[in-house]
């Protein structure tokens, strides 16, 4: 068993426990959200000892070198002395400039950060509610087109942060953000490669940023977007996407409905199944998968089996933790 030291308090970490479990179990207020190594909310730093590589997946190299790690997936094999990252360094205030419903349950949140923030469309930021609850939201804006940071937040039943954003947040209010983070973004180079983007619900947010970023970089290969929802009311940005279709001959947009009643201009079925029907051989395609964790998981596996290379599959599962 290994020992964890936090602020002079040293305790043995139980066999199955993550560093996050161990610390929160002792009342240390480590923020967390997904509990599965995706959102980077639980970022911590080892000030003594080396965290396992598996707890650093997805972190920037600069952070890895400084022994930062994700506490929720950290099962150390040696003693660690750990600390929370320096708050002033990481957190940034941002003013809410605009709130606009994109459909019945997705709110566009436009944020102006008080200091310049360098991001790639498709990365995510962590947004803190006044009570200290933190959630990850993907960036739909592109720096060269939009002045501010755009998020698409879907209201979940009893969602503590999404509900607060939909019901209580007001224009002019200041919130705290951290980031950006994540590696689900467009990488220039190889402009002829085909891109397939599959999203469900607010999973369109990062994809909308990635598509416009790719087009801006002069991507010339086919760019195919499959956006899925149960019924028509769950789709959004339909007009904007159709405008892009008219403007760029290499971009196409297939709205997919998985419910019963499917008018003829929509594809019937789940977005990832429709996508694989359209492009059965994915060899040499680059994929972006965002949204519902089950969709991401199953699309990833099926895309790989259909010939896509693991290194060409970029994904953000919108994991929701059931216990924060």
């Amino acid at each position: 068993m290994v020992n964890i030291t936090y602020a002079k308090d040293c305790f043995p970490l139980g066999e199955q426990l993550s560093v996050l479990d161990g610390l929160t179990g002792r009342g240390v207020p480590v923020p967390f959200s997904c509990r599965s190594g995706a959102c980077q909310t639980c970022l911590m730093r080892a000030t003594r000892g080396v965290p396992p590589e598996s707890a650093q997946i997805g972190l920037k190299d600069s952070l890895k070198l400084q022994n930062y790690f994700l506490a929720c997936v950290c099962h150390p094999t040696e003693d660690l002395e750990v600390a929370l990252p320096d708050d002033e360094q990481a957190a940034l205030p941002a003013t809410v400039k605009k709130l606009e419903l994109l459909n019945g349950d997705i709110m566009q949140v436009v944020l102006e950060s008080h200091a310049p923030i360098e991001y790639r469309p498709g990365q995510f930021i962590n947004l803190a509610r006044d009570t200290g609850l933190v959630r990850a939201y993907s960036i739909a804006s592109v720096p060269h087109e939009d002045d501010h940071i755009h998020l698409h937040v879907r209201r979940l039943p009893n969602g503590r942060v999404s509900g607060w954003i939909h019901e209580q947040l007001r224009v002019g209010q200041t919130v705290e953000i951290r980031g950006p983070a994540g590696d689900c973004f467009y990488v220039p180079g190889n402009p002829e490669q085909g891109l397939i983007l599959i999203g469900t619900g607010s999973g369109l947010a990062p994809l909308y940023g990635i598509i416009r970023d790719a087009l801006h970089h002069g991507h010339s290969g086919p760019i195919r977007l499959f956006h899925g929802s149960r019924d028509r009311s769950g789709l959004y940005l339909v007009g904007e996407l159709n405008d892009l279709v008219k403007q760029y001959s290499n971009f196409d947009y297939v709205p997919c409905l998985s419910g019963e009643d499917v008018p003829h201009q929509y594809a019937k079925g789940r977005a990832h199944e429709v996508a694989l029907r359209h492009v059965p051989n994915l060899k040499n395609w680059r994929m972006y998968l965002c949204g519902h964790p089950e969709m991401v998981k199953s699309a990833k596996k099926n895309a790989f089996l259909a010939g896509a290379s693991m290194k060409d599959i970029y994904a953000d599962a919108f994991n929701v933790s059931l216990s924060s």
Binding site: S54, I57, K297, K300, K301, F304, L305, S309, M310
Partner: protein, 134 residues
């Protein structure tokens, strides 16, 4: 460089099987093909149900690096621990054979000469008892 690390470096960059196969580039070329074969192999695919693709792909890569005679950190004990759960679910010699077969088919697809394929299979074979917890 110490004498030992110099020797390892020479071995790894010159005469080793790993070098002959093409080092890390060869592992990268093989991992997708191999993993795809394993996932679609009806004899063993059930052992991969529901696992995290990225983590699994990383493990496949580590396994291939070892089988190619490259630098690795596996010990017999890790092999035992890593597969104990699967052994409890019924992993046995026939499944191990299937993996070796998929490995051979992968290398053949990549046009690796038969004598090198036999060497790779030999290294993988040497882990059989640890993997099956015997």
């Amino acid at each position: 460089m110490t004498e030992k690390s110099l020797a390892t470096w020479w071995e790894q960059t010159h005469d080793s099987l790993y070098a002959k196969l093409g080092g890390e580039a060869a592992v990268n070329a093989a991992v997708d093909i191999f993993y795809r074969k394993v996932l679609t192999d009806g004899r063993i695919s059930r052992f991969f149900e529901g696992v995290d693709m990225d983590k699994q792909a990383a493990k496949q890569k580590a396994f291939l690096t070892m089988a190619f005679g490259g630098p690795h950190n596996y010990t017999g004990l890790d092999m035992r621990r890593g597969h104990a759960q699967l052994v409890a679910q019924g992993l046995n010699d026939s499944h191990f054979d299937a993996v070796i077969e998929d490995l051979g088919a992968t290398l053949r697809e990549l046009k690796v000469p038969e004598n090198l394929i036999a060497q790779v299979a030999g290294i993988a074979e040497s882990t059989r008892n640890d993997v099956l917890g015997r």
